[in-house]
Assembly symmetry: C2
Homo-oligomer: 308 residues x 2
């Protein structure tokens, strides 16, 4: 294989109660990436569409991941990378993760499946370090593994795939404002009350049980976050109105995607996803803030090949 | 129905990572209780075997629960209760819960299924208040619902039954020392580090996923407790040695049962349960402390009728 084109999905991390431990991948939103072997032995970004991202191979996440994987493998070829971004970086939808995980997946293919999935994940996590300074696993794991993932442990790295109920859909609104990851981190307390922690892990248990048993009501009841949302929602204009609109119109639950500013709602059925999209639109339509709204199924298989 | 005899199981609460949110019921260890209608309109404890428990109907947990249920129902009969305790109170194995849940289950039968399971649970929780001053749900829910339960929420009360893998067994050692519930509560911090909380809810997620998918290794990896065990283990002589012995001999995991002093190990297979029992025995056999060791399956259905 000398060339491949892939779809690398957008991802929602945290999923309300599962702060820093859960994420899922979107089926209809993500980046298109093309990887072509070259004889120069160099990793080059040859095209970027849809976002203002660096071309330098030590700053561009996809290039940094690709370069390191090829080096570690002692590959005798380089790679030309094209990136077509379908949603904006800084959305809280795992934009850098889509690039990093996409590169890890694609380079592994060009190297004839040299790496295990867990090894690909570690390269993708290196990409997250390039993007934001730390090796976060949630978004890249969701992109690589697909569906819902649980980061059970970092040391050792232990990723658990959680089944996705067939009628689960998601609506996302991306208000196009900037939230600095640093601010989103710094606003969180270093300690939390035991009582709050207990209710959070009870909800994580409920969410995992609901996903396993396709119990949509249980999923909805468990999508509660007393730990992070009360702090971070301040960064997101109209957050309370968005959440109320989602719940009033029949969403299972709603919360902040990653560190925001995007807000997601999980729903039962594609029709409900459209209904919530309309409800989100009502909240934002008279706002001065640009926004995009997406509806999607859950990407059960994560990154997919699209070039055949 | 004028009379019934039941088996009300011992229960293990917390299950390492699931502090105040999870519990399971034992198949082979529990109390035998007999309930017989009387025409006096009074609730009486007529026999207690195996433990030194109060006979007064406002102090005895079973009697207190029975009395309140009969009163609330406006029943025209009283009940005579016999309790045969097969394990000692103060073990951390839900002794009061077995009595309270047993009474709630039995009186509901004598009242021709007047109450829902959730209502029975609330009466059993009242029994916990009589026993220890607060309406804890974990042990009573495990006894009433059977198998593994998740207390997803207290307000509103939301109990989630989690499936039990068929080869899951448990070994328990009860060192017969007294730990005051108050001490066990007071030693815990009121706040915990965010990082610790995250790893705890990741493990709860892993444990629930492991139980749902019969993934014994995942269950084992998830049986980790960074929140409570480091504090409470100080109350339990040889705790570290017991835990090491369990893990060295092939247990999936081990931890403190409830607030102790009992220590449980979850294992795959009945043979392994015996092996861990022997390993526990090795640790304690030269100790000056009296102890009992039990092996058991998981009680998939909770309290059972035994009088036919």
């Amino acid at each position: 294989m000398d060339q491949l084109q892939i779809f690398s999905p957008a991802t929602v991390a945290n999923v309300s109660c599962g702060y820093d431990a859960m994420a899922f991948a979107l089926e209809s939103l993500g980046d298109e990436m093309t990887f072509r072997k070259n004889d120069l032995g160099k990793t080059r970004i040859v095209k970027i569409e849809g976002a203002d991202l660096p071309f330098e191979s030590n700053k561009n996440v996809a290039a940094a991941v690709a370069k390191r994987m090829l080096q570690d493998a002692g590959a005798n070829f380089g790679v030309d990378i094209e990136i077509v971004k379908k949603y904006k970086p800084g959305s809280g939808l795992g934009s850098s993760a889509a690039s990093g995980a996409g590169a890890a997946f694609a380079i592994n293919q060009l190297l004839n499946n040299r790496y295990t999935k867990l090894e690909q994940l570690k390269y993708a996590m290196f990409g997250e370090e390039v993007a934001c300074g730390s090796q976060i696993a949630d978004n890249v794991a969701a992109a690589l593994y697909g569906g819902f993932v649980l980061i059970r442990s970092y040391e050792p790295l232990d990723i658990v795939s959680i089944p996705t109920p067939s009628q689960l859909f998601v609506t996302v609104i991306h208000p196009q404002i900037e939230i600095k990851t640093e601010d989103a981190r710094n606003i969180l307390p270093k300690e939390i009350p035991m009582k709050t922690a207990i209710s959070q892990w009870a909800n994580v248990g409920g969410l995992i049980a609901g996903l396993h048993s396709s119990d949509y009501d249980l999923i909805g009841r468990s999508l509660t976050d007393h730990v992070v949302e009360p702090y971070r929602k301040k960064f997101i204009p109209h957050f309370d109105a968005l959440k109320r609109a989602a719940l009033d119109h029949g969403a299972l639950g709603a919360g902040i995607s990653g560190s925001g500013p995007s807000v997601f709602a999980l729903v039962k059925g594609a029709e409900m996803a459209e209904k919530i999209a309309a409800a989100f639109n009502e909240v934002y339509k008279d706002s001065a803030i640009d926004y995009r709204i997406y509806t999607s199924g859950i990407a059960k298989t994560g990154i997919t090949l699209s070039n055949e």
